[in-house]
Amino acid sequence: MVKRPFVLLSSAALLVLVACGGGGASPAPTIGPGASTATTPHASTAATQAASPKASTAASPVESAGTSPAESAGASASPAAAVCNATAGTPSAGASFDPSSISGSAELGHWDSSPAENDALNCALKGFALTYPNVTVTNTDVAGVYNDQMVTRFGAHTPPDVFYVNGDTALDWETQTFLLPLDDYIAKSGFDMSTFFPGYQDTFKGTDGKTYGIAKDGNTIAMAYNKDLVQTPPTTLDELVATATALKGTGHLVAPMCLNPGLDRGLAFLYAQGGSLLSADNKTEQIDTAASKAAVQWYMDLFKNGLGVVAPTGSWCGEQLGKGNVAIVFEGGWLKGFMDSTYPAVNWSFAEMPQGSIGKPMTISYTAAYGIGADSPNPDQGWTVLQYLTGVDGMKLWTEGGIAVPSRSDVPAPQGFDVITKGAQYARPGSGFMPGYNDVQKAFSDAFTAEVTNGTFSADPVVTATAAAITAALSK
């Protein structure tokens, strides 16, 4: 009599577990992480990201792992979607490597993006096909969380021949030997690297000094403000605080500014006030110094005094500006495509980041590059594609619609991005300048978010946690 329940139970359990694939907290079929449901709306940018580790509640567009902005919250309203000006360019020839003599196929891997970005990429690839008809490119959209998918492919020794390398993960990928050094190809092809903005290109220099990627575009953080609410954009940080204080409580504003509780924006303010994460020789942490601590507390005080709020989960500061909940945000060029398509009625504009106590313009930049894998099956063909897409012709086709901002000074910036491009001249890298930076960012934003959530608003725990993380990352 005791056995019967067990038999029934076991059969039922077996049926259920078999039906549901078993395991897991909810024995529902386990959807692998590859099926990324983009819970955070993203702006259109294949190019750059506001490297906000998911620890920060503000979902900035395309975080460091390069998750797929599947729902194109920012399909750029640019004409690039309709018009592609691809023409056959002049194939370049180097001293001992002539790309026009290469034939075969190459697989290009990129992360999932908005339709507008896919169109721009296809346009650039069309230009490539016209210039180098002997190389066939297979355009692979690496669906899911880009970093995770690529790591899996690296482990299986089957990476694409040329692929996006996010500025955040470049150093990690290089230390793990995933990437092929490109110096040989650059020298043999005579590829001109002199016009690339160092702020972008330096991100892809490995610890051994070799080049592991060529920046394909870049973005800098700028101030974006609602022109109806802010008549004169502030030019210094003091003016910013004054403007925000005056805006507090007016109209429908939830708060004057929307801010990310992390280094993905905070770093710009840190630099602007003479603070720093690392010493000049990049050997020791500097977050625990008077200047840095003061800068962190200044940023914290914005939250404390109600001048800035974090974007709600599932949203980001760009959306908050569009919805009219805030008047000032700090975002990159990706904001333009988003605002043009989703909130075209809002009267807004970019302005340079307000200057801090160092008395000169400062901002941070984000970038992504094309790289070739150490195990890529067709490196020559991959290089042919790479040098075209990062050359003047290819980059022009990629950026002229306003999807991204060029990483070379000899490619003209698309209309409406002057502030962003101007920032590239003096921007410091916002990521990829030290190994293990993601851990440092996480330590900062965890501590910062906790302070804001708990209402204690103290910079000390943030500085302590970040200092420990920097020291740990440097010692690895």
Partner: protein, 326 residues
């Protein structure tokens, strides 16, 4: 025994070997062969996919392993030592145990409640069974995404409770009218618990249903004759008789709870945002592999989790697994 030569004599009726050997033995061997060949394929898959991968993970965990180039150098039990001292791992264990401690009893209670309901002869019983069970078979990714929107600050839940005028009660507990349930480090895990309770209660309901239906109606009739009310019947008859069901459900529940991953990954990303409140042990394993790029360490995390779950199951069996006392 008959000499074997007689066994090979062709027979007019039946296979030759049957004539001379006792029928039970031949049947048993043929049955055994048939049985083994039927289970051969699933058993091979089980050994390869479960046992062999476990052993391989054990092997990987003692190495410093590069994802692309493979093993680099042996580090012995360094990875395990690092894990146990790691603050993030300790947070992950704390969150996971908290989740299991709350979610398992809660879902068992809800599952039992649902099972009691659908066990009665009410109209639409089949419909209700299907409806209660449905969340368990729907995609966990889709459900979690919907849930994130429902509990968003301007989401359905906040709007409905505002419309119903319940905000006063919530503010007594310190919850604002536009509370960000999933984004606040104090409420995010509880939001996941509620989500998973709803999702998995259907499965537990099925388990309990099987148990309930195994209780013979004689017992209930006897109880009715003795004048037991509904609550007394439940408390003194049904609940104790469900002991095998409780044990099974609790064990399966704990094993599943300690492996929480899907929902926290979708809601909080690989870092268990906000502020590590959604970091669980499996998510920490995932984070170690894909973010820290350290397969040896990640394999060690997996082994540690295996030990934890195995011990928990053994303890449960020791404490609750005895035969019910009639």
């Amino acid at each position: 025994m008959e000499p074997t030569t007689q066994a090979t004599t062709p027979a007019a009726s039946g296979p030759p070997s049957v004539e001379s050997k006792p029928a039970g033995r031949i049947g048993a061997r043929q049955e055994a062969v048939a049985g083994y060949s039927f289970i051969a394929v699933p058993m091979i898959m089980f050994f390869v996919l479960s046992i062999a991968t476990l052993i391989y993970a054990l092997y990987i965990s003692v190495w410093n392993w590069n994802i692309r180039t493979g093993p680099l150098n042996v580090v012995g039990f360094d990875n395990y030592a690092k894990i146990l001292n790691n603050a993030l791992f300790q947070t992950a264990v704390k969150n996971t145990v908290y989740y299991a401690a709350i979610w398992v009893p809660l879902t068992m209670a809800v599952g039992l409640f649902l099972a009691m309901i659908v066990n009665q002869k009410i109209r639409g019983r089949s419909f209700f069974r299907a409806a209660f069970y449905f969340p368990a078979i729907a995609s966990s990714a889709a459900i979690t995404t919907l849930w994130i929107f429902i509990v968003a600050p301007d989401g359905l839940f906040n709007e409905v409770r505002g419309a119903l005028g319940l905000n006063g009660i919530f503010s007594l507990f310190g919850f604002a009218a536009n509370q960000d349930w999933m984004g606040n480090l104090h409420t995010s895990m509880n939001s996941i618990i509620i989500l998973n309770t709803w999702t998995t209660s259907g499965t537990f309901m099925l388990f309990y249903l099987a148990s309930l239906q195994a209780i013979s109606t004689d017992v209930y009739e006897a109880a009715a004759i003795d004048g037991a009310g509904a609550w007394q019947t439940f408390r003194y008859i049904t609940f104790p008789l469900l002991k095998p069901g409780h044990f099974f459900v609790a064990t399966v529940g704990v094993i599943g709870a300690l492996q929480l991953f899907d929902q926290v990954y979708i809601a909080g990303g690989p870092a268990g945002a906000p502020v590590n409140s959604l970091m669980t042990v499996v998510l920490y394993l995932y984070h170690s592999l894909f973010s820290d790029l350290n397969p040896g360490y990640a394999a060690a995390v997996g082994i540690v989790l295996f030990v934890i779950i195995f011990s928990a199951t053994l303890i449960q069996r020791r404490l609750f697994g005895g035969e019910p006392a009639w």
